[in-house]
C-alpha cells in the first residue's frame, strides 16, 4: 500500500513538473516573438478538399475582359481562319481537312 502511494505521488509530481516546464517554454517563446523581426505573412495554402464538401471555395477574381474592339478583331480573325480552312476543304475535300484545326483563340 505504501509503495502504491509513493508511486502515485511520484507520478503526480512528474506530471506537475512537466506542466511547469511546458508553461515556462511557451512563455519564453511568446516573449521571444516580441523581439524577433517581423516575418512577412505567407498566405496559408488552401485546405485540401478531399472528403469534405464544407470547405468554402475561395472567391476568384473575374476574368479580365478585352476591349470590345479587340474582341471584334478576334472574331474577324477567327472567321477569316475558318474561311481559309473551309476553302482548303472545298479545294480538296477530305475528312481530315473538314476538321482541320486553326490557330484561332476561339477554338484553342
Amino acid at each position: 500500500m505504501d509503495m502504491l502511494l509513493i508511486g502515485l505521488c511520484l507520478g503526480v509530481a512528474g506530471v506537475v513538473f512537466v506542466a511547469l516546464a511546458f508553461g515556462a517554454a511557451m512563455h519564453s517563446e511568446s516573449w521571444n516573438s516580441a523581439v524577433q523581426p517581423e516575418i512577412p505573412l505567407v498566405k496559408a495554402a488552401a485546405p485540401a478538399r478531399f472528403f469534405s464538401e464544407r470547405v468554402p471555395i475561395a472567391p476568384t477574381a473575374p476574368p479580365l475582359q478585352v476591349p470590345i474592339e479587340v474582341l471584334l478583331l478576334q472574331i474577324e480573325n477567327h472567321v477569316r481562319l475558318e474561311q481559309a480552312a473551309a476553302e482548303s476543304f472545298i479545294a480538296f475535300p477530305t475528312q481530315a481537312l473538314l476538321h482541320s484545326k486553326t490557330t484561332s483563340p476561339f477554338v484553342n
Partner: protein, 154 residues
C-alpha cells in the same frame, strides 16, 4: 478588269453589260447596302474592297460581325436576282473607298431576253458564285457544329 460574273463573254458583251450599270464610289466606312434593304441592283467591284457583315449580340450590344470580304472582279448583292429581293447582309467599304458598277436587275433581265446566249453564261457564272458561297458556309457551319457537339458531349 475581269469580272467573275462575266467570264466567257466576248469583250463586246462585257462592254454591253457594264454599260447597263452605273459606276458608284463607296466612301470609306460607308454602306453600299444594308441588311433588309430592297435589292434591285447587283454590284461588280472595280476597285477597293467590300466587307460583308451581319449583326450579332456581343456583350449585350449589337455589333456588325465580319462575314466575308470581296475584292475587285468579284460580285456582291446577288440577292438582287433572287426572290424576295432583299439584301441578307450589310456591305461597306471598310478601310478605303471602293468603286463598283451597279447593274439594275430590270436592265439585266431585258439584256438576257435580248441576248440569251450571254444571259446563259452569266447565269452559269452566278451559279458558280452562289454555289461556292454555299459550299463555303456549309463547311464552316459543320465545323462549328462539330465543336458544339464536342463541348456538349465532353
Amino acid at each position: 478588269m475581269t469580272h467573275e460574273l462575266l467570264n466567257g463573254l466576248s469583250s463586246a458583251e462585257v462592254e454591253q453589260v457594264l454599260e447597263l450599270g452605273t459606276r458608284l464610289i463607296v466612301p470609306t466606312a460607308t454602306s453600299l447596302f444594308r441588311l433588309g434593304d430592297p435589292a434591285d441592283r447587283l454590284f461588280l467591284i472595280e476597285r477597293g474592297r467590300i466587307k460583308l457583315t451581319l449583326p450579332m449580340q456581343v456583350r449585350g450590344r449589337e455589333q456588325e460581325i465580319f462575314v466575308e470580304e470581296r475584292s475587285p472582279g468579284q460580285t456582291v448583292g446577288w440577292s438582287a436576282l433572287i426572290p424576295p429581293y432583299r439584301f441578307t447582309l450589310t456591305a461597306t467599304a471598310p478601310l478605303f473607298e471602293a468603286e463598283v458598277v451597279a447593274v439594275p436587275r430590270e436592265a439585266l433581265r431585258q439584256y438576257f431576253a435580248a441576248n440569251p446566249a450571254a444571259g446563259h453564261k452569266i447565269a452559269l457564272n452566278l451559279a458558280v458564285v452562289i454555289g461556292h458561297r454555299l459550299q463555303l458556309f456549309q463547311t464552316m457551319w459543320l465545323r462549328e457544329m462539330q465543336r458544339t457537339v464536342e463541348v456538349r458531349s465532353a
